[in-house]
Point group: C2
Chain length 154, copies 2
């Protein structure tokens, strides 16, 4: 119930952001976009990492903590993709490859797939079922990896 409400509102929020702030026009300078997208990935990865640690048995399973972390992931997952203006690819580890732009539809689809798995991650966390959480962490992690393998310098 709470999950549904949260996600509906989060989706409304992102829809508002996307509609009102198309493409990368909202960043004054490309370096601002780069800083912002790195920051949003950092926050997302931190909170996803805490859930993954539970799934891997490194820390005790706590459904409330998993849910809180998953909800932060769900918000963060929607933010970085408006912050890839043309010309901000790189060659150093962690930077995006040029095919983010030459294969933009594929990149956007990969982002959407990840966001869909994150919705399921929130539901799994709320279900208070460790096996469900493990499965959702695995599926979400695969979407992270798929995008990194295709679009990020490793």
């Amino acid at each position: 119930m709470k999950t549904t409400k949260f996600l509906m509102i989060a989706m409304t929020c992102v829809a508002g952001l996307c509609a009102a702030l198309p493409a990368s026009a909202q960043f004054a300078k490309p370096e601002d976009a780069v800083k912002y997208r790195k920051a949003s990935f950092t926050v997302m990865a931190t909170h996803f990492g805490r859930i993954a640690a539970m799934a891997q048995g490194k820390v005790p399973f706590d459904a409330a903590a998993a849910t809180a972390n998953a909800e932060v992931v769900a918000v963060m997952a929607m933010l970085p993709y408006s912050a890839f203006p043309e010309g901000t690819h790189g060659t150093e580890k962690g930077s995006p490859k040029a095919n983010v732009w030459s294969e933009r539809a594929k990149f956007d689809a990969a982002a959407k797939t990840m966001q869909g798995e994150v919705v399921k991650l929130v539901a799994a966390a709320r279900s208070n079922n460790l096996d469900a959480l493990k499965a959702a962490v695995g599926n979400t992690g695969k979407t992270c990896k798929a995008c990194h393998d295709n679009f990020r310098n490793e």
Copy 2:
């Protein structure tokens, strides 16, 4: 209505995070905490800046965009304060001063004041009233500045 729901859930979320992950114990290394808190402030400042630009007449007022941005600010506002482990003060511009820890109760109170103003910022954005938004941006900005003046190397 949506605001209330969003904030109730966001508050539930942060309460979960705070309860489950006290203090700074959730970061393996102090530098992870520093990177995370900087990242969350970067994302928060980006979205607050977009609302401030509307309040200042630099971009057209758009209540839906203001609301979406304010909701992101509301989530981000709750994140950084678990990421100030002892010993992570500095002297360079933007780093926290040592009194974050020697006056921790005052620091935490300042954070709470800001979070309270951000709740009002979301409500003002949703009200579709530019004057209300301007007032809320001003009040929120004052809480940012007060904390920076007291606790941050400028």
